[in-house]
Symmetry: C2
Subunit: 353 residues, 2 copies
């Protein structure tokens, strides 16, 4: 047995009775029946995930996993590889978009070095948690990105990270990432999972030009050919094409299901992690909240494959958990209405004719 | 001269130089160029509206206008007419959705009785501002809803309300409403403005059944026939088909343009007010933020007519300014990132290759 297999075994079905109880309360509140639209779906699902008809909201935490990718050497990113470590510092020091959003909303922010090429442990970066699986993955165009042991370690690191959060009273986590070239890894995983060609799944990422996108598409196609024999096996697929931060986010999705923690998936790369987790634990995607539809073209296709309706559609393509941070605030607003609105009976308001 | 004509005369063009300065700062921040997507459009437009390249954010206020509608006697709402006054009380006492959201977000909430049938001035309702244009409008299927003087008073009341908010340091207002049967008034106005048939513009409102929708469509068509001769004149159109709260919201849109206050339009009914204001002051819609695409079918068509991209798409159809309250929080998050993120130079992060 392993933490991964134990965790999978501990996952129970969602609590449909809790969702139904929440639905009854929603219908008693002073608003036209069903008029909170998709936010009513969100409240019911939160109750089902949490096994809690009262849908109580604890604290929310944004988990940002940072790692490097060997495939960056194929020239698949608009930014140099060093930006991964530079942005790790920037997030830790409060200057990145997610740093600002987490402070703005009062979300707890945990930044995890899952395997950045440069080791910054001597730099005393505030709040960074070091759970390095390695110093960047290998170039998956030429060999598997990770060993099977590394992939399992990264998954279990994600499980341990959400376990800690749950132990501290966190009821909802956002998952986000930073890692130069990781949209190439995400595109490869999502092409493998959905069967959709890389020409539709690989996009501009952080801002590739047309020639860069063509190169990226060829890299993904080449990688899928190279690793074709293992793509039927979710763990070996993840090892071949994934990244440390992607595997860790997949682990969070699995661990959260076992701990009844709500997960809010950020953008394209976090969605690849969610899709990989859904391959490992089929049906898992139905338990996740998808925060937004990103400007990365393949994201729409990936969300459709997962039958996911995102909360926001703002053409974001920043990553870091920024979309998740905003979406969590929308979910918290929905829960606030659920908890605090008056009922028809209590407020003396007439019901529907 | 009048407050209305003075206000219209005081409106200056938006400040495109401020928008360009904001765009330059956006491009200097540590994120892939353009990666905040639509939120970058929002920040630039906010700077242009405010004539402020720094896009500083003051406080936000939700203005909820409440009024009754004579056309309710045609059986066009799923709820009895008394719900308008009951919900006025509920909003004031903190039990309505908008009451909860305003507290949750820390938005200032101003509830204005613009002409509820029942006069609640003796009830000591906390925080309600009484600016009653009348005790409900007349039934516009049979006669104009308002006199020309009432329509002008309601518009000017909206202007005065946003003037007061601006004087108090408010830089962004959300406009919302409550008023049984007001989606019939909104559908009539939007049919008149867009030329789109009532069969597409009039929807279920708070939850009409199929027979109710057919009745509502016939009421709108009948009203457009009755008032056909005045529909070319924006003020007479508003008087014929509008409501006190709708005219007041149109006044807020006009007054806000003169005072450089950002307006966040709520749902279908507030959009009808915005469209009416855009008829009075052509081009005004380009200065407004539209908070969400509501589940009311005609709303999509109205937004397309106004070339508006809403911030959210959550199938809300509650009104009261609820969508505006959520959208304001998203705009505030965008402004926080704009103000507080590090620059590439400041954080030592490499720029695009």
């Amino acid at each position: 047995m392993s933490l991964l297999s134990d965790t999978i075994a501990a996952v129970e079905p969602m609590d449909e009775a809790a969702a139904q109880a929440a639905a009854r309360r929603l219908d008693s509140l002073t608003k036209p029946l069903g008029s909170l639209g998709h936010l009513e779906v969100v409240v019911r699902r939160y109750a089902a995930i949490r096994h809690d008809p009262a849908a109580e909201s604890g604290s929310a935490s944004i988990l940002v996993f940072v790692a490097d990718h060997g495939v960056a050497e194929e020239g698949v990113s608009a930014y140099p590889k060093e930006v991964t470590e530079q942005m790790l510092r920037n997030i830790a020091r409060g200057g990145a978009a997610i740093s600002v959003l987490a402070r703005h909303y009062g979300h707890d922010l945990r930044v995890i070095d899952a395997g950045v090429a440069a080791d910054t442990r001597g730099e005393d970066l505030p709040g960074v948690i070091y759970r390095r699986i390695g110093s960047g993955t290998r170039n998956f165009l030429r060999e598997p990105a990770m060993t099977a042991a590394q992939a399992q370690s990264a998954l279990e690191m994600g499980i341990a990270t959400v376990d800690e959060a749950a132990d501290g009273g966190v009821t909802m986590v956002g998952i986000g990432e930073m890692g130069i070239a990781n949209s190439t890894s995400a595109a490869a995983l999502l092409s493998a999972i959905t069967g959709i060609d890389a020409g539709l799944m690989a996009g501009r990422g952080t801002g590739l030009d047309d020639a860069g996108v063509r190169r990226k598409v060829e890299v993904v196609r080449g990688a899928l050919r190279r690793h074709h024999a293992v793509l039927h096996d979710p763990l070996r697929m993840l090892a071949a094409l994934g990244g440390f931060e992607i595997a860790a986010m997949a682990g969070v999705c699995i661990g959260a299901a076992a701990r009844r923690v709500a997960v809010v998936v950020d953008g394209f790369i976090a969605t690849a992690a969610a899709a990989a987790a859904d391959r490992i634990l089929p049906g898992l995607a139905a338990r996740l909240f998808f925060s937004h539809r990103s400007a990365e073209g393949g994201h729409r296709l990936a969300l459709e494959h997962l039958r996911a309706r995102p909360l926001l559609d703002l053409d974001l393509r920043l990553g870091e958990g920024t979309g998740a941070a905003i979406a969590i605030s929308v979910i918290q607003a929905a829960l606030a209405m659920f908890h605090r609105m008056a009922t028809f009976a209590g407020a003396g308001v007439a019901e529907k004719l």
